[in-house]
Amino acid sequence: MPESRQDFFRRYVEAIAERDFAALEPMIHPDYVGEYPQSGERFRGFAALRFQLEQYPGGLPAARFDDARTKILGEEERWAISPGYTVLPLTGPERYTTLSRAPYPDGSRWWVVSIITLKDDKVWRAETYFAPEFEPPEWRKGIVEIVPRD
């Protein structure tokens, strides 16, 4: 039975968090391109991905897939019924949005939103954004409900 996308992304996030490069490398497409649009950085290939993970100042955030806030958008399977009444998976752009909340070594928490495109069942493109947590502004407190974040 093929691995579900949920399981695939679980392994992917955990391999990054644990710097398990032996597990990570087979999940990365040979033509991988990663981007950080916030800073304009782009890196190509597994070696560049590994280098920037190894050099991460202060240590990597401890993202975990089991966090209840983690989610994947776009994971639903789409199926077609063929003229022969067989059920076939539809092909199409395999783009997913993954959302996780990462505690950093300095105690801060950032939301990590990644737009990931898979090709040949590997991570081919990853466009990642980092959004810092912040306190609700005073002027909005009378308008909105504050939901505990922890």
Binding site: A80, R95, V113
Partner: protein, 147 residues
Amino acid sequence: MALDPRDFFAAFTSAVNAGDREAAKALMHPDFTAEIPQSGERSHGFDQFWAQFEAYPGGAPRMPAVPEIHFIGEDDRWAISPAYTVVPLAAPNVFTMLGTTRYPDGRVWHVLMLVELRNERLFRLESFFAPELPAPLAESIATYQHG
């Protein structure tokens, strides 16, 4: 015919940026909920959504116009029926939208919105705000001054 999300959001952002309350309200589901997970804020319904725009200090930043928004998840999927007709599968109603906005202080932020439409109205909106930062990003994050 399925709702075209680009047409929908063109109408929505146009109404919001123009301050057209009634036009914006007509595009919003009665059970609309908006969340900003970064701060834990949640609002319910159109009135709370609109009140935030009206109360924004210095004026609310304009929403990115649709040509500037990158939609993810809008691809239609099609199936061939046993009778050889081509029928659309359930119209996609969940999208990720990426855009940028410039705040009154001149800073540019990336805005990521996870959006759900229901009954051709805006039903759920989960927004994330990511500041432009100098490269290398990892160092900028490590030294980021949380305000």
